[in-house]
């Protein structure tokens, strides 16, 4: 498997979110990402070991926008908790490696 080149991926960011597990949360998160014009390239959702919480992992293409904005936007609405984020261009090396939930940045 060849590694994808760095250039086209520079606006990709992987976000993981721990969210309350009730109907509509996926719509809510997807809606927020869509509204800002970001494209979701990959998505997976699964239960956590904590009752009533699920984890979402999103690969988001921030396109022309600043990648940080995705994260800020997702943080401000109730019920949706972004706990950690990684990025393929290693802008935040302490949150590398991408895609693997590391722990809670902001504990609930």
């Amino acid at each position: 498997m060849s590694m994808p080149s760095a250039e086209p991926l520079s606006s990709l960011r992987i976000l993981t979110a721990v969210v309350e597990d009730h109907p509509g949360v996926l719509t809510r998160v997807a809606g927020m990402v869509r509204r800002r014009g970001f494209n979701i390239q990959g998505l997976s959702v699964g239960p956590t070991d904590e009752h009533g919480r699920s984890r979402m992992t999103l690969t988001v293409d921030a396109g022309h926008a600043e990648v940080d904005q995705v994260q800020k936007q997702l943080k401000v609405r109730p019920g949706d908790e972004i706990v950690t984020a990684g990025t393929r261009n290693a802008r935040y090396p302490d949150l590398y490696p991408y895609g693997i939930p590391i722990g809670r940045v902001s504990p609930g």
Partner: protein
């Protein structure tokens, strides 16, 4: 208790004293219980959109969240425009809508619609309740979410069978929302840094937005501007946040802002943006906005505003009042010789680019009407403006010497907002005079609420700036779309004096300058609502204006030959 009783009891516990609503099939259980709660005053509107704008005007006038009731399907869908209006302008509101029975949701039942799906993009948060046990907690949460952090509307959709079910409610004493952490206190290190930069700048400008008014930070803003000797302007939604006759006032900014404000923004070396989103109506063409600024300071309660439109050098995430108060002790008074050239320059721009309008073409000028109205406002009345030219005239001729209440739909730009919002404002502040400024186009979009003003004998004076056309669109077509006047003619409209009469309030028509004062006199001495149909110059335009798609430097003023 039944679910319906829990709803009403919970509202009472939240300190609600007024509800703007409309009953229907899916909220009948709530309305059945309503008479048992006489402390909850209910205002029966004539259209659910009116209810949301009334709740909005109420909230903006007194700071408490507005409360709306609507039934399912069309009732709830009619609230969408009002929710969006409140959402765009960060106004606290709680809307409670009825929904079909839980067993019928998703089966295309009568008056069933996906209200959660429809309202999601235009509310801060929403809930669908399918269990009676959740009502008490969710209503408490809804008020908490609506009023904390950056305020906004919250919708609660309650299935009818849940309203009829019973349980022993557990009244929440705290809110448990792990993912919701509004910024309550600013980062003090950033505050100090920002205050330092402001003190050191040679050509600083402060722009104040709605956040200053929402947080009640007007006094703090004046103190900070005075201590740092900084020229201060406002956004359209921030009108009223800074006294417009203050020597440091830059008045309104943006693509229809004053010439001296635009000049100051375009030449500033430091720009502090307080409680505002820096939207396209403020910046015009973003790449040409504030080109000489070396330091952007952004103060806002919402961290997601930081860098959304303009990347600031310093971010202070907190409500405007707290941030300004915390910043004040760190501001050093600049040396007079350091700031004098800048102030002299701003004063010169103020003289070179005054607000102008066409005085002597034989028509009644809207600006004359505004000047006369504001003379009677006496620094104290609430003025609610609609959307379009009337809104900008009302904002530009705003003349308060102290911080005051100017209400308008700045973000969403919802035509038809002003009149119901003025009704809500009057319910919130009955001691205040309330003036509603609207064009004839916007006014007829929600004019059915005249019945509410008449029924409650509300002292709302309607100043209709009637130019027989959709004036702002007409101006854009004339100036930017090749002069093709397409579908803007409103010659066929009701006789507004007869319309007022039909609704049971006095109406007057004024066509000449000489009759203007007598009409205002009549309105002021007549209790209850009064409508004045001012037949204004059909070609009156808004100036200054920046051509669509251009930068602020390209602003155009009224040609001298018309002034």
């Amino acid at each position: 208790m039944t679910g319906a009783e829990i709803v009403l009891e919970a509202l009472q516990r939240e300190g609600v004293d007024i509800i703007f609503g409309y009953p229907g099939g899916a909220n009948l259980p709530i309305y059945q219980q309503l008479p048992k709660y006489p402390k909850l005053r209910h205002v029966l509107v004539r259209h659910e959109q009116g209810a949301t704008h009334m709740a909005d005007g109420y909230a903006r006038a007194c700071g408490k969240p507005g409360v709306v009731f609507a039934t399912s399907g069309p009732g709830a869908l009619n609230t969408i425009t009002g929710l969006a209006t409140a959402y765009m302008d960060s106004v606290p509101m709680v809307a409670i809508t009825g929904q079909q029975n839980t067993t019928l949701v998703g089966r295309d039942a009568f008056q069933e619609s996906d209200v959660i799906g429809c309202s999601m993009p235009v509310t801060k948060h929403n809930y669908m309740l399918t269990r009676v046990e959740d009502i008490a907690r969710v209503i408490h949460e809804a008020f908490y979410v609506a009023t904390t952090g950056r305020p906004g509307p919250v919708l609660i959709d309650i299935c009818k069978d849940v309203q009829q079910a019973s349980c022993e409610p557990v009244w929440p004493t705290r809110v448990d929302l792990p993912g919701y952490r509004p910024a309550f206190t600013p980062d003090l290190s950033r505050v100090r840094e920002a205050a330092d930069a402001l003190s050191r700048a040679e050509r600083p400008v402060i722009l104040a937005g709605h956040g200053v008014i929402l947080s009640g930070g007007q006094e703090e803003l004046i103190a900070l501007a005075e201590r740092s000797v900084t020229p201060t302007g406002t956004t359209l939604l921030g009108v009223g946040a800074f006294p417009v006759r203050h020597p440091l006032s830059l008045h309104m900014t943006g693509f229809m802002g004053t010439g001296w404000n635009i000049k100051a923004v375009q030449n500033a070396d430091l720009l502090m943006m307080v409680g505002m989103r820096v939207d396209d109506r403020v910046t015009a063409k973003l790449s040409e906005w504030a080109p000489n600024v070396e330091t952007f300071i952004h103060v806002d309660i919402d961290p997601s505003e930081m860098g959304k439109n303009v990347r600031p050098h310093m971010e202070v995430v907190a409500d405007a009042k707290t941030a300004l108060r915390e910043m004040l002790p760190y501001v050093r008074e600049p040396q007079p010789e350091c700031r004098r050239p800048w102030l002299t320059q701003v004063d010169r721009w103020r003289e070179e680019h005054p607000l102008k309008y066409a005085h002597s073409n034989g028509h009644l000028q809207p600006q004359d009407v505004m000047i006369e109205m504001y003379r009677r406002c006496d620094d104290d009345a609430i003025v609610v403006a609609d959307v379009g030219q009337n809104q900008i005239w009302a904002a530009l001729w705003w003349n308060y010497t102290r911080p005051g209440l100017f209400i308008n739909s700045g973000g969403a730009g919802t035509m038809g907002f002003a009149f119901p919002a003025a009704i809500g404002a009057k319910f919130a502040r009955p001691e205040k005079a309330v003036w509603c400024v609207a064009g004839e186009g916007g006014f007829v979009m929600t004019a059915q609420e005249l019945s509410v003003a008449v029924k409650h004998k509300l002292d709302v004076k309607i100043v209709l700036l009637n130019n027989f056309s959709l004036g702002m669109v007409r101006q854009f077509q004339d100036d930017f779309y090749g002069g093709v006047r397409s579908e803007v003619d409103l010659t066929e409209m009701p006789d507004f004096v007869k319309l007022a009469d039909a609704y049971g309030l006095p109406g007057l028509c004024v066509e000449r300058m000489e009759d203007m004062r007598a009409a205002f006199d009549f309105a002021e001495r007549t209790p209850g609502p009064v409508l004045i149909d001012f037949r204004i110059d059909p070609d009156a335009n808004v100036y200054p204006i920046v051509p669509l798609g251009k930068g602020l430097n390209d602003f155009t003023e009224l040609p001298d030959e018309y002034a």
